[in-house]
């Protein structure tokens, strides 16, 4: 009962005060307008307003699971190549805690060729030939920093802002703050490839202390992406429709006894939404109506790029359908008989050769396709990982974890395309200079582009007004157009 009355009040207040005086007082008075929005009375996912006009409607969050070596992809370091095989000068290790007794490995250079691309002249290695052609769409952050020596905690931090589980993921915050733009689909979708869920599972798209309704919905590989989307085997469509009509009648008959109870009415709505989702969700991921050219663009005709390409194309379709936050996690690949993600502690050559190939064409295809459909300006693409990899080698042919300086990039609406923010030292180990970007800053920047002030996106939890960036975070203005 308590909830209804409060809502009712807010509605009355909204009308009673005309919304004129109040919204006139309010910078970005959109939120008040949504509080009074009738839809929000029954639906926690009803669309809500922003703090200021949003630059983008959707985010595609490309998590390279396992941490690629960005000094072998984007961060060209001639000195590293020159010094390869030698001990790393002590000055480069200053201020960091390494996890190898008796000194770290020798500096290591993989077998790359490097070239500048586009008008921006951005460097790409030969591992990403297709993405290189999209160079001028990207804004690089070459000075990313984070915390952690293991994937676990750094992936948590990348997604939720904390080293321990329990906080909401960025996508959950977005869904909480903005609601859904398409009631027939979840506003926060997770895509992954491979036979099983990404390790760590739902913690990485958890709603944390926010209500569970805001957690990400994992869209599973295959034609039926959501759990329980398909009717029980022996129930025909018409049969189920008739059942739902009965349900509606029963709930309405009984609900008349509780005229003020919006929660009960919301439940009635939820069944109708569910019924629509039975067809809208499979349709959203059904690629059969995509043209051959599109399929080719995303690499669907090649076994190597097909899985990730499918997710990229699904991501575009979800963007078209108003999904706010699409988190795509790369899956493991078969590398020399082992199932491995980007985590190249050994045999980086083979590992990155395979992983880069699997994502290069699909991501480039996504960028080109979004642009040609006029969606790039309203979509933000974030290429991210839990950390990078060290300039010094490990086990002779691989690299260790590097949370001190690595590259990520952003592209799309509101982004200063063709720019570079920050840099690493001469061997690409640590970020140097004032310009660095921690995960909190990335979160603040993403929220900003979504029209949300990370300081004002709050939720009261155990008496504490929590925000997505914990007690940190600054919008990286240099990345914004």
């Amino acid at each position: 009962m308590s909830n209804n009355s409060r809502r009712d009040f807010l509605v009355k207040a909204g009308y009673g005060l005309g919304g004129i005086t109040l919204s006139g007082l309010m910078p970005g008075g959109g939120i008040f307008a949504t509080v009074a929005n009738a839809a929000s009375l029954v639906d926690p996912l009803a669309a809500k307003g922003t703090h200021f006009p949003a630059k983008v409607k959707s985010v595609i969050w490309l998590h390279m699971d396992g941490a690629p070596s960005t000094i072998d992809l984007y961060d060209y370091k001639p000195d590293l190549i020159k010094l390869a095989g030698q001990d790393i000068p002590a000055s480069f290790l200053k201020g960091i805690k390494t996890s190898t007794q008796g000194g770290v490995g020798k500096l290591y250079a993989s077998n790359r060729t490097w070239k500048q691309h586009g008008e921006s002249g951005a460097w790409f290695s030969d591992l990403l030939p297709n993405l290189a052609k999209q160079a001028d769409k990207l804004a690089f952050v070459k000075s990313s920093v984070t915390i952690g020596a293991t994937h676990d905690i750094s992936i948590l931090k990348l997604n939720t802002g904390d080293l321990n589980p329990g906080r909401p993921s960025l996508g959950a915050w977005v869904q909480y703050a903005l609601g859904s733009a398409n009631p027939d689909l979840p506003a926060y979708v997770v895509l992954y490839a491979g036979k099983k869920e990404p390790t760590g599972g739902s913690v990485n798209w958890s709603s944390g202390f926010l209500p569970a309704v805001y957690q990400g919905t994992a869209f599973r590989p295959g034609s039926s992406p959501i759990l329980h989307l398909e009717r029980p085997e022996l129930i025909a469509a018409a049969q189920q429709r008739d059942n739902l009509d009965l349900l509606k009648r029963l709930n309405e008959q009984r609900g008349a006894l509780y005229p003020e109870d919006t929660e009960l009415r919301a439940r009635l709505n939820a069944y109708e939404l569910a019924y629509r989702m039975e067809s809208s969700a499979p349709e959203a991921v059904d690629l059969s109506k995509e043209s051959d050219a599109t399929k080719e663009l995303y690499g669907l005709n090649d076994e190597i790029t097909k899985d990730y390409g499918t997710n990229m194309l699904r991501a575009r379709r979800l963007v078209e359908r108003g999904v706010r936050f699409i988190q795509v996690v790369t899956g493991p690949l078969d590398i020399s008989g082992d199932s491995r993600n980007w985590d190249a502690h050994q045999d980086l050559e083979k590992n990155h050769g395979a992983h880069a190939k699997a994502v290069d064409k699909p991501i480039a295809g996504l960028l080109a396709d979004l642009e040609s459909r006029g969606l790039l300006d309203s979509t933000l693409i974030v290429w991210t990982s839990e950390f990078g990899r060290t300039s010094y080698g490990q086990s002779g042919t691989g690299r260790d974890h590097n949370p001190w300086g690595y590259t990520q990039w952003l592209a799309g609406g509101g982004i200063k395309a063709g720019s570079t923010f920050g840099q690493t030292d001469e061997v690409g180990l640590q970020a140097v200079g004032d310009q660095t970007m921690d995960t909190y800053d990335l979160h603040a920047t993403v929220l900003q582009l979504m029209g949300l002030d990370h300081l004002k996106t709050t939720f009261l939890h155990n008496g504490r007004s929590e925000r997505p960036t914990v007690v940190y975070g600054q919008v990286i203005k240099e990345l914004l157009a």
Binding site: M1, S5, R6, R7, D8, M26, G28, V35, S99, Q101, G105, T150, D152, N164, P165, G166, A177, K196, E197, T199, G200, S202, V203, S206, F209, P211, V213, T217, R220, I226, H228, P232, L234, I235, A236, L244, L246, L250, R254, E260, L264, R267, L268, A270, Y271, Y275, M277, E278, Q346, D347, S395, G396, K456, L460, N462, G463, R464, S465, R467, V471
Partner: protein, 814 residues
């Protein structure tokens, strides 16, 4: 539910809107706010706001200053005059006199009625007996009553019928199961470690069973708390008390962490914050990075509290008393050992001669400050070093040793390469793959050990420090274990035991003391919240300044003081509530009550409530007659949707009886929450879960309508209804309503349902026609005699049953 960026200050709701704050007074008629200050903050923020209510009254809501400003008061407050209400000693209030004396069955009623009379609102009439037993059984047991139980109570003419019912409810093991679930939410209980590895913790279920048994035995709450915080110190030799420390041992863990010093800090932080939130209802954790911004808790207070736990280590290999579960486990394990004996011997023959090098390699891969401890000679170890070494031994596995062989044998390019290891590695790898083939033989569940949190046999403990900004790499002043200075002037009496520091005993004695102002208040408030949907203090885990004030302070004082007076008996507390007039009221809508008190804070009407995830699943199992009524034992894995893709993390139980156990026995895998429960807002096991959310989503509807499991239960329920009611459809519908709702359908419902059957039969017939002779019908199951059944009509009836079970009334408690 209302979900927006709002927070609550006192009895006034506030809403952050851009740079403004909307404040809603408690009579919901007026608002306007002037914001005095809103600084863009690097730190977590709050506001100083002044609400000018349109009535002309003014109220200062909450004061907030930044970290520097609160630092001083936080550090210096001890005088009780400055203490907040929840930090004052618990009072024993006078029971108020009321006009409607007849209504008062217990002092609880007098406290509630006094407020109602002040507002000239009458309490509601009694709920019908059938409604009452459905409500009370759901509350006390967590599932719906059987029709036999309903009928027995409805027809019980004796004057103490209610009392007999409540006694029966409280003496059933199902009571302990339900109450345990509530406590396990607070204990962030899980059967796995969480993080990426998310390994099974095969012995945690013993802690879950300990909690169930404690409630069923009506263990005094003070003892319950002491056992969980310091059972090992306080009750040496008591196995149960050792299992109780599983409360602490449930911390989320990543065994592959290479930073053991950080891990220790994270574990201690988890335990401290869990105790603070769950038992003391205080947000101590806010003071980890900076002095508390609302409460008088300094960073020093916080780390002094952590210091009580600085010497605890997880010990997972304590032998459990041998019962049938342990015997079965050992038998199964012996089978695996026998089958793999040869392979394991061959593996050992390869790795043992290399053990020293392999362990050395593994140890060298920890971060530098962990290595400081790891490579220190044993005679120089301090308490921190002992902790690190204990941890290292616990997390180092055969796989870690194998990793060395791989590194040194796989590739010539590796600096660790040793030529002679190349063939060894190939052989070892093959043996390891062979060994994996026998994993199926490993015991699927159970264990023969106890997982406890205890100390390592020494009286000295690691030093504790205030950490700048909560960063363990920036220690400031050293701190000793102490209680929060502003909360009490009492000093801990720490007496080391023969095996431990004695620190937790001192803490447990203070927390579980009748003088502690928080412990009893917080617990009775949680129980109240459980029955009435809202706590007397609405913010059940925040009794501080940022939390709500009690809506009926005298009632809270009465419950807390009486709880302690009654020897901390949890059952007596439940009984008094269950037998009160407040609890007996009808939940029927009353326009007069709604107008006078739209939030129902005064409880003039009994508040309806959406069932918890477990209540929904368990009640469906009861309705369908499939509930497997077995108490305790290792957690089970019922089937999950095939596209869940949880891989090895969810191996469906081999024993089909496991499928239909109560939900609290379903395995809690931190990274793979059981889907049917997860969708109905089950507790997250990552941190203390203070209160279940109620969300209403299409995914819930999909789960209840489309899940094959739920649909099969409906088929069983349909079979049960027909078996019990016979062939008459009116009788069947009557029976169905009795089972699900403990009431008869009304005229309109009967008409709707009968009309549905007729029409639905046609739809199914049309389907069959389309299906071209291939008969595809879902029929009732569990029928002894199917001779008389028209399959199409019976299939329509299954759909009717499934739909009625999906209706609002089933998922709510009225």
């Amino acid at each position: 539910m209302f979900l927006s960026r709002g927070f609550c200050l006192g009895t006034i709701n506030a809403e952050v809107v851009g740079d403004l704050i909307l404040v809603v007074s408690n009579n919901f008629e007026m608002l306007i706010i002037r914001l005095l200050r809103d600084r863009p903050m690097k730190h977590n923020f709050r506001y100083l706001i002044l609400a000018v209510l349109l009535s002309g009254a003014t109220a200062t809501l909450a004061a907030e200053a930044d970290a520097e400003k609160t630092a001083k008061p936080a550090a210096s407050k001890t005088s009780s005059a400055n203490k907040d209400w929840s930090w004052q000693p618990v009072a024993t209030p006078q029971v108020p006199s009321v006009q409607q004396k007849k209504w008062v069955r217990s002092p609880i009623d007098a406290f509630v009625l006094a407020k109602l009379e002040e507002s000239s609102v009458k309490p509601s009439a009694e709920a019908s007996r059938a409604a009452f037993i459905r409500r009370a059984t759901l509350d006390a047991w967590g599932l719906i009553p059987s029709t036999e139980e309903v009928n027995a109570f409805v027809n019980d003419k004796s004057p103490d019928a209610y009392e007999k019912l409540v006694d029966r409810l409280l003496s059933s093991p199902r009571y302990g199961e339900r109450q345990a679930r509530k406590w396990l939410d607070l204990a962030r209980y899980a059967d796995s470690t969480g993080f990426q590895g998310d390994q099974t913790r095969p012995s945690m279920w013993r802690y879950r069973d300990y909690v169930i048994n404690s409630f069923n035995e009506d263990k005094p709450y003070d003892r319950f708390v002491k056992e969980q915080l310091a059972g090992d110190e306080l009750y040496p030799g008591d196995t149960n008390a050792l299992v109780a420390t599983g409360f602490m041992a449930g911390f989320p863990d990543n065994k592959n962490s290479r930073d053991l010093i950080q891990r220790k800090y994270q574990i201690t932080t988890d335990i401290t914050d869990t105790v603070g939130t769950a038992i003391l209802g205080t947000t101590f954790e806010c003071a980890r990075c900076h002095n508390h911004k609302a409460d008088k808790i300094s960073q020093k207070d916080y780390f002094a509290l952590q210091a009580f736990f600085s010497n605890v280590s997880a010990v997972d290999n304590i032998p459990a008393p041998r019962g049938s579960i342990e015997a079965r486990y050992e038998q199964d394990k012996a089978k695996w050992e026998e089958a793999t004996k040869e392979i394991r011997a061959k593996r050992a023959a390869i790795i043992e001669p290399l053990r020293a090098a392999a362990e050395q390699y593994h140890k060298e891969r920890y971060l530098s400050d962990s290595r400081d401890s790891i490579f220190k000679p044993k005679n120089e170890w301090n308490a921190t070093d002992r902790w690190v070494h204990h941890r290292l031994a616990n997390v180092t596995t055969d796989e870690d040793l194998g990793a060395y062989l791989r590194v040194s044998g796989e590739s010539k390019e590796n600096p660790e390469y040793v030529a002679e290891n190349e063939s060894k590695w190939l052989e070892y790898k093959k043996l390891t793959d062979d060994l994996k083939k026998f994993d199926k033989l490993k015991p699927a569940k159970g264990s023969n050990t106890i997982s406890a949190m205890t100390e390592l046999g020494y009286a000295d403990a690691p030093s504790s420090f205030v950490f700048f900004g909560g960063n363990h790499e920036r220690p400031l002043d050293e701190v000793q274990p102490a209680f929060p200075a502003a909360l009490t002037s009492e000093k801990p009496q720490i007496i080391p035991t023969s095996i431990s520091s004695g620190r937790r005993t001192a803490l447990a004695n203070w927390i579980a003391s009748p003088q502690n102002p928080l412990t009893a208040r917080v617990f009775v408030n949680r129980v109240w919240d459980q029955y009435f949907g809202t706590g007397i203090v609405r913010t059940v885990s925040d009794f501080g300044r940022a939390g709500d004030k009690p809506s009926n302070p005298e009632l809270l004082e009465y419950l807390a003081s009486n709880f302690v007076k009654q020897g901390w008996s949890v059952k007596k507390l439940h009984k008094e509530i269950l037998l009160s007039s407040v609890y007996r009221q009808s939940s029927d809508y009353r326009e007069d009550a709604y107008k006078a008190d739209p939030e129902n804070k005064l409880l003039a009407v009994f508040p309806r409530k959406r069932l918890d995830a477990e209540q929904i699943r368990d009640s469906l199992l009861v309705a369908s007659g499939k509930l497997e009524d077995k108490v305790g034992g290792p957690s089970v894995m019922p089937p999950v949707p095939s596209n869940l893709n949880a891989g090895a993390l969810w191996q469906v139980s081999g024993d089909k009886q496991d499928y239909n156990r109560r939900s609290l026995y379903v395995f809690t895998r931190r990274s793979v929450p059981y889907p049917l429960l997860a969708t109905f807002d089950m507790a997250s096991a990552q941190q203390v879960h203070s209160k279940r959310d109620v969300t209403t989503t299409p995914l819930q509807a999909l789960a209840l309508v489309n899940s094959d499991i739920v649909f099969e239960w409906s088929q069983s329920l349909a079979g049960k209804v027909i078996s019990e009611a016979g062939g008459n459809e009116t009788a069947q519908i009557e029976k169905l309503y009795q089972i699900l709702f403990a009431r008869s359908p009304d005229k309109a419902e009967k008409a709707t349902l009968t009309a549905f059957l007729a029409n639905h039969e046609k739809i199914i017939k049309a389907k069959l026609k389309d299906a071209d002779g291939r008969l595809a019908l879902a029929v009732p199951v569990g029928l002894k005699d199917t001779q008389q059944l028209d399959p199409v009509r019976a299939s329509a009836f299954v759909d009717l049953v499934h739909t009625v079970a999906n209706s609002n009334e089933f998922s709510y408690r009225f």
